[in-house]
């Protein structure tokens, strides 16, 4: 923690950056913190409650953040995949951001809930994590904690759902998506939802019904899942942000699995790893073209 605070203080003092985006202990658990003054650097923390993917604040949509000057951002390995995603998709120049990686032993599901990391509280993306030590960062801080406890719940739920009949799956999703209030929290917290004008906001023509009825909700969430194919960093922020607790990562994970099986692509911390959506090879699998 001290290492992180001292680094942030140095970067702000010598003018390397105008803001360090990290986490602080807020009135209600851990929350994102925008540190603009060296004297505030001691507020920065890193604990298993540092759930939020701060890479979302690097999106070009956040013009107000860019006004603070050059940005340093604190990332876990999983968050760093989103930084790479933004660079890969030319939304961010790597040299425009100072990436501070933190070695991570997993985070909890809810930054506002219990602080203790157990098999019950661990965030779903953590068990089996392959990026506990972030790569391609400008700075790397902290000691490497032991691996996260528990197992991935979504993977289990997904395989159960895959075994059920199409009718049962349809019922499951209609029930889940009927809860959606179209607050767009899933979209707004997502680092990869950076479109200046989202398809869902277009009205001429109105591609997606804006009404929160099952028809509109299904259209919205399936479209979003498809738009995340080969792009989703897997951070799970959409699911965490959902005020109605819709298991959105089931959709994203399923799509990610299809992409992995078909094109061998997995969300990566390396911007140079080409995503299937933006590349073409003559020997690409074509079985899906009938």
């Amino acid at each position: 923690m001290k290492e992180l605070q001292e680094l942030a203080r140095k970067l702000l003092t010598d003018g390397t950056v105008g803001v360090v985006i990290g986490w602080e202990e807020g009135p209600r658990g851990i929350r994102p913190y925008f540190c603009t003054r060296p004297e505030d650097a001691d507020k920065l923390v890193f604990t298993p409650r540092c759930v939020h993917n701060l890479a979302t604040y690097l999106s070009p949509r956040r013009s107000n953040v860019r006004e603070l000057g050059k940005v340093a951002v604190v990332v876990k390995g999983c968050d760093n995949k989103a930084v790479a995603g933004l660079v890969r998709e030319t939304q961010l120049k790597r040299e425009d951001v100072v990436v501070i990686g933190v070695r991570c032993g997993g985070v909890v599901l809810d930054p506002y809930g219990p602080a203790e990391l157990t098999a019950n509280t661990v965030a779903d993306r953590c068990p089996g994590c392959d990026v506990r030590e972030p790569h391609n960062t400008d700075h790397l801080v902290g000691e490497l904690p032991p691996p996260p406890p528990g197992e991935q719940r979504t993977a289990k739920l997904m395989s159960e759902l895959e075994k059920s009949s199409p009718d049962q799956r349809w019922d499951f999703w209609i029930e889940q998506l009927s809860k959606c209030v179209r607050c767009n929290a899933c979209r707004e917290v997502c680092p990869m939802c950076f479109c200046e004008r989202c398809l869902a906001d277009k009205t001429q023509p109105q591609w997606i019904d804006s009404s929160p009825h099952p028809r509109g909700n299904l259209a919205w969430h399936l479209t979003r899942a498809m738009h995340q194919a080969g792009r989703c960093a897997g951070c799970g922020e959409c699911e965490r942000a959902c005020p109605m607790d819709i298991p959105l990562m089931l959709l994203n994970r399923k799509v990610a699995q299809v992409v992995a099986d078909s094109w061998g692509y997995k969300s990566s911390e390396d911007p140079a790893v080409a995503a299937p959506i933006g590349t073409f090879n003559k020997d690409d699998p074509q079985e899906f073209i009938k």
Partner: protein, 358 residues
Amino acid sequence: MTVKTLTTENLSHLAAALLADGTEVIAPVKDSSGKVDYRAVKQAAELALGEALPRKSLKEFFLPQTECLFYFKQVKNDVELTPVPTTFGPRIVLGAKPCDAAAVDILDRVFDWDYHDELWFGRRQATTIVTLACPMVDEFCFCTAVDIEPATRQGADMVIVPVAGGYHVETVTEKGEALVTKYAKYFSDGGKQAEADTFRAEAKAKVEKNLGINTKDVRAWLETHFEDGLWHELAWRCHGCGACAAVCPTCHCFDIVDESEGVNQGTRRRNWDTCQAGKFTLHASGHNPRGEQCNRCRQRVSHKFMIYPERFGVLLCTGCGRCVRACPGGMVLPEVLRRVNAAAQAAKTEPVTEGVGQ
């Protein structure tokens, strides 16, 4: 006001009797994952009274998140409109959170302002609200700071207060009286006033510790700080989603859309909207008077603590704390109010030129 006692068992019988009589019963219900929502119940056993705060407030039963206003159909060179009914069958809400009932009363004012909203008042008229006095949910409850208390009668037709063995019952309106009269056999005479008063006082004292502000001073500060660093600072963290507005019992802004359904026909709908979304104020010209998130963060606070009280004499906030609990970015409205209040108090003793934010 009639005072009665209702045993826990009889509350269940009352719910069953209401259902048997064809009254729609809305109550907090727990789902398989333990989350609580207000929902129309099919049987009395579903009631989960006194559990956690429902995820969404009561407003969806008066202002549904999507509702049809009318159907349209093109017939040759004319358009045929089919209206929707504006009268509704009898409904009762059992065990509403007092802050949620108060919100409905607060919103009556805006829905009867420049236009008398038939759909809102149709549902209002059909619905009897029975609130269950609240012991406080957690440290983000702040109803007492916004002129409401955890057992407020505002918006309620009948209030029930937990006492040993059941509830102390107080009727507030004629609708509440009618309920007690029609289902008299479930209620016993006389209340447990002393016990209920103690419950109320204890809950109030607990919530008062969470936040103490002078809302008049907050309003005065807002009136003079349209431009302030605070709004920029809030906007850094804010994602600009509408989770806060969706779960808020008093956020009532809506969008109206025409959805085509088939050829030459469709539905005009009213959907929840939020001032936190950039699209909310986007003009057809491309200009957006609230083009930045800082403008939108300011709007939400200003509407609740300056604009609405100016227009209707009441705050547009019941202190339920749902916005705090729902925010993925860690925004905390009581914290904002505390800071604004502190700045307003400081301004009383010495004129300040600096704002609240960095």
